[in-house]
Each structure stands twice: as structure tokens, then as C-alpha cells.
């Protein structure tokens, strides 16, 4: 598949050189002594917290990050390849509120998080269990990461995301994952069952908590997204090109650090930059500018030979309505066509990352399925072109009764989950439901039919014991 790309080779070079110039002459702030030491030792000029990177160091280190790797799942059939020709979809990340059509908008709970693990587990199109899909506001702060990790490990057998709030959360994630797989932490580096998202503080800085976690995961060889959300007109220049440069400079600086800590440790070149909604001075993610940045990020990551992150089913809408639908499809289609590898926020997001919606989760699952079909594309092989069949059926014939159709239709044509394709009369008879109402029925059906992929009893006990020893019963 050939990817949609904005830039010529010359433009790619120019973008890259601009980032190198920023890294060398303007620098990036690292508010964490251990990180400063690593960078200084590697040859960076360090003034206080400001780090200046020699271009040769940047290019040499970035080249060490692998182009492709596999996240092993508890169920080996569900392992996920990151990079190459693959696309992985992962649910929402970060919202402190949750909503559904029955109960409305409210602070999310651990039960909501568990529900999203279950919905993700049942999905054909979502590949990795999301992290922080709904913040468990009902759990004491210190305990939240551990309970979310346990839920991800128990209620799904797909690879999952790790904790990211500081070195302690990273450490805890690694320790619990070692218990889950019943292996040493060194052995975990071979399996790579988790991936986490760590972020810069735009513009041109990293804070101590993020750096603590970045270093912890890098040391352990655990895959991580080195991510930047630069906001055009707020934390980066109002031109998307200028925003791209701020974003990439930050990401490159973070990747250099990871490779210096452990050469070859897997990363994702993660850009989720967008623009401000200038009427309000807030972040807008359902914006065409976001889609533009997704394609730009994918192309630059390809230049660096590192898997990319961008896109998502992104929307600023308050409801799972038409705005939510077209904004989400815009971003997902762009991610698919521009060759993004890791697509976070692929299910559930409303209100610019503030809310996870049950209905939107299943609507977005449909979008992921459609996008995967689009990515599958076409192969103009002899047998797929079906000359013989067409000759046989001839002018004026039909294909509905052909054996070839009967044998192949189920795998050829995308089977929709939710979309309404029935006749008008039947649709009326079924209750004349809008798609958000259908989604409301659907998520309930999925949760009802959910089957837990049982953990071995000893593993489950060991995980609970770990949590109880740290935080009490």
C-alpha cells in the first residue's frame, strides 16, 4: 500500500534539519538530574536543565530504535506487531469523566474501566487493551494504577498499556507484569507485553515524573510511546508546520534518551499535535489540522525508520452525534491512509479527551473495522481479478448465485457491527432507532455476552497479594 504523503523528499529533509538546528542551538529542558547525567555523558552540552544535542548524536541514536517489534499477549494468538505494514488500534486514554445515554455524564469509576477492558476484549478491531480508559475516581489515588493494571490483566488476554505517572507507576507496572507472565523482568524484555505513553511538556521540555517513567521503562526494555501534543497557536507556532517541528524536536530528544539508556529499546514516534479552538483558547482535536499533523507525523516517522503514532477517533463533540461521527472518521481515515502504526484513542473519546462514552466506544469500533478493511486494500492478482469467472458468467449474467460468491463473500465484504443498512420499512418496524440508540443497545449486549479469559488461579492470587501488600485489603 502506498501512503498518503504531503511532503517531498526535500521538504522532509528541511523539516529534519530544522529539528536538528533547534536541538543543537535552542535545546530542550530536562527537569530530572539522572536524565541530565545520561545526556551530558553522551556528549550533550548541558546548562542547568537546558540540554543541547549534537546533530551526529541525534542521528546516531535515533537510528538504533527498531523499525518493528511484537507485543506478546497473554494469549499468543493476540500478539500485536508494531511497525511495518501493520496498524494497531487502541481505545481511549485519560478521560476523568464517562458518559452513556442512560446515566449521562459523570465521574468515571473502576467499574467503568473494567467495562471498557471487557468491550475492548470482545472487539475484533481493537488490538491492545487501553490504559486509563476511564479514571477510577472511586479508588484512592495511590492505588489506581495497580487496580487498572489488574483489570487489564484479568479481563482481557490482549497486550495492554502500562502506567505512566512517574517512575513508581512504571516500576509497579513492570513488577505486576512479571507476576502475570511468571517470569523475571529480564525475560519480560523479550516478551514485551506492555506499551506505555510518556509525554513531553510542550514547548521543548520534559518534567521529572515523565522522565522518571521514561527511564524506568527504557532500562527494562519495555516499549514506550515518546509523545508530544503540541498545540498550534498555544504551545507551538500557529502554522501546523511550525507545530510539527516543535513536536518532532521534543520526540527526537526523548528517543535519544531512551536509546542511550538501553540501545535498541522499542519506541514509537508519537505525535498527536493539533490546533487551538481559537474562540475558546482550548485544544481542538476534531479539527482538520489534527488530521494534517497525523499524516505529517507518519511521514516523518517513516523517514526515521521508527513506528509512528497519530490519529484516533477524535472528537470535540459532547454526544455520540454526527459531529462525533465525522470528526472521528476524518482522523481515523487519515491515520489509516498515511500509514500510522499505533493509533491511540480509537474508541470512546468525546469532548477533546475529557470524556469516555460507552456508545461512542462501539461506534468507533465500527470505524476501526472499516479502516482495517480499507488498509487491506486491493491486490490486482490474476485470481482476484476473476477473468475466468467474468467470462463464464458473461454479459447479462448475475453473481448472487455463483459458488465463488458463496465461498468468499464472508471474508471479502466487511461485516458491519452496527450500521443501519436495512430497508426503511424494516428500520421503522425495528423501532426507527438512530445509530447512537443502536450503540446503546449494542454495548449492553456485548457486556452481557462477555466471557472472561480466566487467569490461572495462582496468578490471580499473586496479583491480588501484590496489591494488598502495597495498599491494604
Amino acid at each position: 500500500m502506498r501512503y498518503f504523503e504531503y511532503f517531498s523528499e526535500q521538504e522532509v529533509r528541511r523539516i529534519h534539519e530544522t529539528c536538528l538546528r533547534l536541538l543543537e542551538t535552542v535545546g530542550v529542558d530536562f527537569s530530572f538530574e539522572p536524565a541530565l547525567e545520561v545526556l551530558k555523558k553522551a556528549g550533550c552540552k548541558v546548562e542547568g536543565q537546558r540540554v543541547f544535542f549534537p546533530p551526529t548524536l541525534v542521528e546516531a541514536q535515533v537510528a538504533k530504535a527498531p523499525a518493528q517489534y511484537t507485543l506478546q499477549a497473554r494469549n499468543p494468538e493476540k500478539s500485536v506487531v508494531i511497525g511495518g505494514e501493520h496498524i494497531a488500534f487502541i481505545p481511549c486514554y485519560g478521560p476523568p469523566f464517562v458518559t452513556d445515554l442512560d446515566r449521562g455524564r459523570r465521574a468515571s469509576t473502576l467499574e467503568d474501566y473494567i467495562n471498557f477492558v471487557k468491550l475492548g476484549h470482545a472487539s475484533r478491531s481493537l488490538d491492545i487493551t487501553g490504559g486509563m480508559m476511564a479514571e477510577p475516581n472511586d479508588v484512592p489515588h495511590e492505588r489506581r494504577n495497580a487496580e487498572m493494571m489488574y483489570a487489564s490483566m484479568r479481563y482481557s488476554d490482549k497486550p495492554f498499556m502500562g502506567g505512566a505517572i512517574g517512575a513508581e507507576a512504571a516500576r509497579e507496572t513492570i513488577e505486576m507484569t512479571a507476576i502475570l507472565f511468571g517470569c523475571s523482568e529480564a525475560a519480560l524484555a523479550e516478551k514485551r507485553p506492555i506499551i506505555s505513553i510518556l509525554c513531553a511538556r510542550t514547548p521543548l521540555a520534559y518534567d521529572d515524573r515523565m522522565l522518571g517513567a521514561i527511564m524506568e521503562y527504557a532500562k527494562a526494555g519495555m516499549p514506550q510511546l515518546i509523545s508530544s501534543l503540541s498545540i498550534a497557536g498555544a504551545t507551538a507556532p500557529v502554522t501546523m508546520e511550525g507545530t510539527l517541528v516543535v513536536q518532532n524536536t521534543e520526540v527526537l530528544a526523548g528517543i535519544v534518551l531512551t536509546q542511550l539508556i538501553r540501545e535498541g529499546t522499542p519506541v514509537v514516534f508519537a505525535g498527536s499535535s493539533s490546533c487551538s479552538a481559537m474562540r475558546y483558547g482550548t485544544l481542538s482535536i476534531g479539527a482538520p489540522e489534527m488530521a494534517v499533523n497525523t499524516a505529517a507525523t507518519a511521514q516523518m516517522a517513516r523517514f526515521y525508520g521508527i513506528p509512528s503514532r497519530g490519529g484516533g477517533a477524535l472528537s470535540d463533540a459532547k454526544l455520540p452525534d454526527a459531529q462525533a461521527g465525522f470528526e472521528a472518521m476524518m482522523s481515523q481515515l487519515m491515520a489509516t491512509l498515511s500509514g500510522v502504526h499505533f493509533v491511540l484513542h480509537s474508541a470512546g473519546i468525546l469532548e477533546g479527551y475529557m470524556v469516555s462514552s460507552y456508545e461512542k466506544f462501539v461506534l468507533d469500533d465500527e470505524i476501526c473495522g472499516m479502516c482495517k478493511r480499507i488498509k487491506r486494500g486491493e491486490r490486482a492478482d490474476e485470481d482476484r481479478l476473476a477473468f475466468e469467472l467474468i467470462r463464464q458468467v458473461g454479459p447479462g449474467g448475475e453473481y448472487l448465485t455463483q459458488k465463488h460468491t458463496f465461498q468468499n463473500f464472508r471474508k471479502e465484504i466487511y461485516a458491519n457491527l452496527l450500521e443501519e443498512k436495512d430497508s426503511y420499512a424494516n428500520w421503522q418496524q425495528k423501532g426507527a432507532l438512530s445509530i447512537d440508540r443502536r450503540a446503546n443497545q449494542k454495548w449492553k449486549e456485548i457486556l452481557k455476552a462477555y466471557q472472561e479469559p480466566q487467569l490461572p488461579a495462582e496468578t490471580d492470587k499473586a496479583l491480588r497479594r501484590y496489591i494488598e501488600r502495597k495498599y491494604g485489603a
Binding site: P96, F97, E135, N137, H141, I165, R201, D207, I231, G233, A234, T235, S276, M278, R279, Y280, G281, T282, M354
Partner: protein, 207 residues
């Protein structure tokens, strides 16, 4: 007529013109309070209305505020103590553990534009610092911002500290994960979902 010109210069985001005209009015002996209230604050009130109506966007509102502040800087040394704190004094900051400041900066600038005296403590501000500065400066309002759910407890700590210190200052809170419910829960005096609302809230509290 000339005060109207100052008003228009603010509406035209023309910092240099505002400075020039304010200087001229002061030299001409025009009453300082009139220049302040009708020329500068009056213009920002109109900017605020246009902003709420969606006719002006944030960068324009901030440019107008910048122009207004240039004029205000000229008047400041000439204002009486009463005029200086006329509308009110606000201490603002992002709470401990949180480094996000875009929203806070927007609120800060809009409040200044509305004629409030704003002391911005920056980010990662401990509750003790809020209390200390509010006490020293006799703040009318203490405004707290947070973007992270993990730092919202620091809002509670600060509101409690303010009460325990026996300060007369009112506390208001804001930030994406913050709600009216949370404000009620921690005993804050007010909450706003956005920057214009924060300015209206402070005006109401000062009334």
C-alpha cells in the same frame, strides 16, 4: 472625545496608539479615573462582550488586553490607593504538582483586562504560598487552576488552608476536570468552566 480615541485604540489592538493617547490625556490634565474607567476598562468590557458573542477570538482579546495594559502602566503610578484596588485584587496560580498554565494565563490576562489587580504565582504553587501572598497583599479572591485529576486534592488543601488562616479572601477554582460539584465539595466560593466566566464570577463576588 480623546477618551473615546483611547477606547477605539484598544478596540483596534493598537498598543502604541494607546500609550501615546493615554500620555497625551494625562498631560492635558484629564481626570485619571475617567481615562481608566471609560477609556481602558470600558474598552475591555466591550472586548469581553464581543468575545463572549464569538466576534473576537482569544488572540485578539489578548492583543486588546496587551494594549490596555500599556495604557494602564502609564496610569498606575498616578492612581490613588483606592483606584488601584478599585475593582479587586486576585491571587492566581496552578496548584502544587501541576505544571499546566495556558488556561490560568488566559484567566489572568482577562482579569487584568477587566481592571483587576492580578498577582500570578505561576505553576506548582503550594497552599502555604497562596495563603502567604493573599495575606500580604490582602487579596479579595484566590483563584486556583488544575488540569490533572491527581492535583485536584491540592485544591482542597489550599481552600482548607485559606479557611484555617482566617482570611477574608474568597476562593474560586477552575480547570478541565473541575466541576461545580467538586467546588461545593471542597467548600470553594465559586467555580467557572471558562475564562470569561471566571471574570464574571469575580465581578459578582466583588459586588
Amino acid at each position: 472625545m480623546a477618551i473615546q480615541d483611547i477606547f477605539n485604540a484598544v478596540m483596534a489592538f493598537d498598543e502604541d496608539k494607546v500609550k501615546q493617547l493615554t500620555q497625551a490625556e494625562v498631560a492635558a490634565g484629564t481626570e485619571i479615573g475617567a481615562i481608566l474607567n471609560q477609556g481602558l476598562i470600558g474598552a475591555m468590557d466591550t472586548v469581553g462582550e464581543k468575545f463572549s458573542a464569538g466576534d473576537l477570538f482569544v488572540p485578539e482579546m489578548l492583543m486588546a488586553a496587551q494594549a490596555m495594559k500599556a495604557g494602564l502602566a502609564i496610569l498606575k503610578p498616578l492612581l490613588s490607593a483606592g483606584q488601584a484596588q478599585a475593582r479587586g485584587r486576585v491571587v492566581i496560580g496552578t496548584v502544587k504538582g501541576d505544571l499546566h498554565d495556558i488556561g490560568k494565563n488566559l484567566v489572568s490576562m482577562m482579569m487584568e483586562g477587566a481592571g483587576f489587580d492580578v498577582i500570578d504565582l505561576g505553576v506548582d504553587v503550594a497552599s502555604e504560598k497562596f495563603v502567604q501572598v493573599a495575606t500580604e497583599k490582602k487579596a479579595d479572591v484566590i483563584a486556583l487552576s488544575a488540569l490533572l485529576t491527581t492535583t485536584m486534592p491540592a485544591m482542597q488543601t489550599t481552600v482548607t488552608a485559606v479557611k484555617e488562616a482566617g482570611l477574608a479572601s474568597r476562593t474560586i477554582i477552575g480547570g478541565a476536570p473541575v466541576t461545580q460539584g467538586f467546588a461545593d465539595q471542597i467548600g470553594a466560593d465559586g467555580y467557572s468552566p471558562d475564562a470569561p466566566g471566571a471574570v464574571k464570577l469575580v465581578k459578582k463576588l466583588m459586588a
